[in-house]
């Protein structure tokens, strides 16, 4: 018998010992970061960067596969007891000696997770991690001339790139309201002093917004440069238009943070993606009724919100709890009680 087969037999035996739990339920108590466990990380430190941004140092579990500069990671954090998932760019270099990774987070107004991470996260806390992902990365063949065009927290994936790889000719244009809002400002200025980077800071409070049409004044050879841009949608839309107009669209790489815009209106189009049915729903009828009327096989129980027999994954959109008016937005792992939830805008129910 091969060792893999032997191990799988031994594991089966162990499962018979621990049933109805799994051996991993017990191992998680003592070694949550071990190889083979669900991927987790431990927050080891939180360093403030600006008044509303901080870098979180994470020790990833043994299953962490490592990242490419520019990628992001999805993390699951408990805020007020509720696990919420968000994506953040990795800002540490890929070759960091101690194996830790860092993400840098800017607290956005009403941002549950970002405010928690920046202001309240404490070292020692366990978080859930996904493997790093994203195609906002540098190509294997290094371009001769590079332009980084960033705004606000859009600097974070680019910082991962700046820290990881050196180029001969790098120009960066970064926009932030004021000098003290520039994340990593000292480190950027050190790079400039070492002649590794040419940096233009646009302070939008005093300079006004960056006008992409006048980019040539700041970087005359911008069209020859392989460009990575990250920032708010307005900046990226303008950039894409500008690069397209000049016939060099293929040189522009963008990363959008894709803020989820949820139109929490009354009712909307409900898609039952597993059965492929789409129906219009008002904002007062439980999704359970909507589904049943559309002939979707919906699990159901008490039909009054107590038995949890009807819980179903919400894949996209938002629903409103008919009892409390509370809005629940789609996120991986979010389950809703269809008997007491109505559509609050278009939504996708996995049935």
């Amino acid at each position: 018998m091969t060792s893999a087969a032997l191990r799988s037999r031994a594991w089966k035996l162990l499962e018979m010992v621990t049933t109805p739990l799994l051996p991993s339920d017990y191992l998680d108590l003592v070694s949550p970061l071990r190889a083979g466990a669900d991927l987790r990380g431990r927050i080891e430190a939180v360093h403030p960067e600006t008044a509303d941004a901080a870098t979180v140092v994470i020790r990833p579990g043994r299953g962490w596969r490592g990242h490419t500069a520019g990628q992001y990671v999805r993390i699951g954090v408990e805020v007020d007891g509720v696990r919420l998932w968000r994506a953040y760019s990795i800002t540490s270099p890929t070759n960091r000696q101690d194996g830790r990774v860092t993400i840098t987070v800017k607290a956005i107004p009403d941002g549950k997770v970002s405010n928690h991470l920046v202001h309240r996260a404490t070292p020692g806390t366990l978080i859930r991690l996904d493997q790093p992902t994203g195609d906002f990365v540098l190509p294997p063949a290094r371009p001769a001339k590079v332009l980084y065009l960033t705004a606000g927290s859009g600097i974070t994936p680019v910082m991962g790139m700046l820290r990881g790889i050196e180029f001969d000719d790098v120009v960066m244009i970064h926009c932030a309201p004021q000098p003290q809002d520039v994340i990593f400002r000292n480190e950027l200025h050190d790079l400039v002093a070492d002649r590794k980077l040419r940096l233009t800071e646009v302070h939008t409070d005093t300079d006004g917004r960056l006008d992409i049409a006048r980019l040539g004044e700041l970087v005359p050879d911008w069209a020859e440069r392989e460009t990575w841009a990250c920032g708010p949608a307005g900046l990226l839309d303008a950039a894409e238009e500008h690069w397209t107009e000049h016939g060099v669209r293929e040189r522009l790489h963008t990363e959008r943070f894709r803020p989820r815009i949820v139109v929490a209106g009354d009712g909307g189009e409900v898609t039952f993606s597993a059965t492929g049915k789409t129906v219009d729903a008002d904002g007062a009828t439980p999704l359970l009724d909507i589904g049943e009327e559309a002939g979707v096989l919906m699990p159901s129980g008490c039909r009054m919100g107590i038995c949890f027999g009807c819980v179903t994954p919400l894949k996209a959109g938002a629903v409103r709890d008919l009892r409390t008016g509370e809005i629940t937005e789609a996120e991986p792992g979010v389950l809703i009680q269809t008997c007491v939830s109505a559509a609050a805008g278009p939504c996708d129910i996995e049935r």
Binding site: M16, E78, G81, M304
Partner: protein, 372 residues
């Protein structure tokens, strides 16, 4: 059972007002649910796992009487924690709001021969929706006993004190049979129903796993302590069974708890539903440790009003609920465990015989619950 409807003095408007006040209590807890509650359930789950592991470790040496005693006691408590404060409540969806797939009603499995999926249906949907409605709520005597004068007497009920005792000792099997609705489904034609067969198979698999673990694997691991470990796990299972059976008997069987006619729940409003839960449940008074070991089912009334609120919050809810009972002049049935268990047993014995007098119909009560 009283022949007088204890809610007759309430107007339809008062009943709806009562419902609104209960909704407000629920909203308060939901608004303040958070980190502390999450930390609580995680701590309980972690403690249960450590206790079970330690107890089973000690039982490896169960051939020595002190080890047997300690291990058996620890394992009994661990199994009770698993079923009551953790399993029952997680399966109710009380912790679903944490969005942790590892502590979720749709993924949880417990140390019990009835698979979580089937128990959730018979318990959460049938029992909690149709609480104490004769003919709808099978928890009323589990289909084998008569626990209210309004239930028809049958000569088989003569043996119900004995059935109840046997059921207490092997309660988890009783629950599994009950979740399968064996009484109904063993009928010749239903036995072949593929849906029933699939469910019966699932129960068979669960029983096999549980039995293999408790009565084969752990005794084998104990080597020379094989027989004593076997005796220990058997004892722990029986202790857990008798304990949960007693707690659950106290929830709906003691004197003073009301039952309802099938007709009375038709077109029931939210206020009326709440009122039925209030009158159909009974609490157990006691220390914090007592509440914990019952999985906070000692707050049965509060649990039935708000089955999906986290169990650690029932104690604070109970204060407000009790005030409402007083305000609306309703009887809050509660008492210490021995008194309530005795009261329930007395009823089981008394109702094993036919009613003494011809049954008095209770039009007042029916009317109150049908109207509006």
């Amino acid at each position: 059972m009283t022949a007088i409807d204890p809610t007759a003095h309430l107007t339809a408007e008062q009943i709806e007002e009562l419902g609104r006040e209960l909704d407000a209590i629920r909203d308060e807890v939901i608004a303040s649910r958070g980190e502390k509650d999450a930390a609580y359930i995680r701590k309980v789950i972690s403690a249960q796992r450590k206790l079970e592991l330690a107890s089973r470790g000690v039982l490896l040496f169960s051939i020595f009487p002190p080890a047997w005693l300690l291990g058996t006691a620890g394992l009994s408590v661990a199994k009770i924690m698993d079923n009551m404060e953790i399993g029952h409540n997680v399966l109710h969806g009380q912790w679903d709001w944490m969005r942790d797939p590892k502590i979720h009603s749709t993924t949880w499995e417990w140390d019990h021969v009835s698979p979580a999926e089937q128990w959730k249906h018979s318990h959460n949907e049938l029992h909690h929706t149709y609480t104490n409605v004769i003919g709808r709520d099978n928890d009323l005597g589990y289909g084998i006993m008569r626990v209210d004068e309004d239930q028809k007497w049958h000569p088989l009920h003569l043996g119900q004190p004995l059935w109840n005792l046997v059921n207490a000792c092997f309660f988890e099997y009783g629950i599994a049979a009950y979740d399968l609705e064996l009484g109904k489904n063993l009928h010749k034609r239903r036995r072949r129903n593929p849906e029933f067969r699939a469910r019966a198979k699932a129960v068979g698999r669960k029983i096999r796993k549980q039995v293999l673990k408790d009565y084969v694997i752990h005794p084998l691991l104990s080597g020379p302590s094989f027989l004593t470990t076997l005796a220990a796990t058997f004892t722990a299972n029986v202790v857990r069974n008798i304990w949960s059976h007693s707690v659950i008997m106290c929830g709906h069987f003691p004197e003073g708890v009301q039952v309802f006619e099938r007709q009375s729940v038709k077109g029931e409003t939210r206020g009326q539903w709440y009122l039925r839960q209030m009158m159909g449940s009974a609490n157990i008074s006691g220390s914090r440790a007592m509440h914990f070991m019952t999985g906070n089912l000692s707050h049965q009334i509060e649990h039935h009003l708000f089955p999906d609120l986290p169990s650690n919050r029932y104690a604070e809810v109970a204060v407000k609920v009790r005030a409402l009972f007083e305000k609306y002049e309703l009887e809050y049935v509660t008492g210490p465990l021995p008194k309530q268990v005795l009261s329930a047993w007395r009823k089981v014995v008394r109702l094993s015989l036919p009613n003494k007098k011809p049954k008095v119909k209770t039009p007042a009560r029916d009317k109150a619950l049908v109207s509006a």
